[in-house]
Symmetry: C2
Subunit: 193 residues, 2 copies
């Protein structure tokens, strides 16, 4: 798929087909993410890929979904819930480092773009019970969960709408249950010198 | 260009052709960046695009370049220095927010990917004199510089090398002045559950 098409079309997905994503596809996403920019090329992020149904279902119970369209658009286990999670971790003592957070943003965005081409939708989540997930996955004590990515084959295709008013950024479902994501135009966010 | 090619080939660039990048190309980069994922769709990032030679040259004096290959690979004004900067800003009181930092990572990585397709190289910089740049650009007092992106048409094409040892991530120039960027393999950074 052309880069431009992916950059334009990709949106966060919160409805998933229940067809499992093969391991080689999940691996390809990490293969893209590992090449993202990171501070000093230190590559401090680590990933735990969870795709066994029992663990996926347990992690799902530790997540909170899109505030603006809850509860109408909460994924339903066995019907529209994610079929895998990628848990993004770092060292506990570095978890609040701004540079590690930006590394996270660059890597997760790259994973999301790579996923879109494969028909895999992603929802990057920060509203999660980190302690519960850490314990469930038996992660090492010196490791901290930064974010998780919920994923699965996409069963919705949200759209973006151009807006100029920073007060109107709230996403919403229309009468056809299509998710709209208002995005500020270049003119609204950029100045030139 | 195919997404896969961009994801594989894109690397940070620190040598630039002195041909200016047209405004419409710079605008296209922001048009990609504005659609990147961000927390709660709040879109709190703003951009100042600097491409007038005098200001670009002044900003250049407020930047510190790749630690590992300095001074051998420092860009030279008028020969290999960037021809534009994108200054990424946020509100001062939110500047240290982890979520704003991850938003920054997602947006800057997206801009870098969009640039690569156009032959434009980027260097995402945090080692900068924020106060001096803020003052030079006469930015508002409630605005904070998060990072800057140095850019211009690429005059080098660094490569990545696969490695398994997290102790060997330091990038280096080989005997042909080609920049190598060691990147950890998927097996070195991921576990599966």
């Amino acid at each position: 798929m052309e880069l431009q098409q992916v950059l334009k079309e990709r949106r966060t997905v919160r409805r998933f087909s229940q067809t499992p994503v093969p391991d080689e596809e999940l691996r390809a996403l990490l293969d893209a993410g590992r090449l993202a920019s990171c501070a000093r090329n230190d590559q401090r992020l680590r990933y735990t890929v969870v795709r066994t149904p029992e663990l996926v279902n347990r992690i799902f119970t530790f997540t909170a979904w899109a505030g603006s369209v809850t509860p109408r658009r909460d994924p339903v286990p066995g019907m529209t819930a994610p079929t895998a999670f990628i848990v993004v971790t770092g060292k506990k003592e570095e978890a609040s480092s701004p540079l590690l957070q930006t590394d996270c943003g660059a890597a997760i965005q790259t994973i999301q773009l790579a996923a879109w081409e494969k028909g895999i939708g992603c929802c990057w989540m920060g509203a999660i019970d980190r302690q519960a997930i850490h314990s469930l996955l038996e992660l090492p004590g010196d490791c901290a969960i930064l974010y998780i990515i919920a994923l699965g084959y996409a069963a919705e295709k949200p759209v973006h709408d151009d807006i100029d008013d920073p007060g109107k950024v709230k996403y919403y479902l229309d009468d056809n249950d299509l998710l709209h994501v208002p995005k500020l135009t270049v003119d609204a966010i950029a100045s030139w010198k």
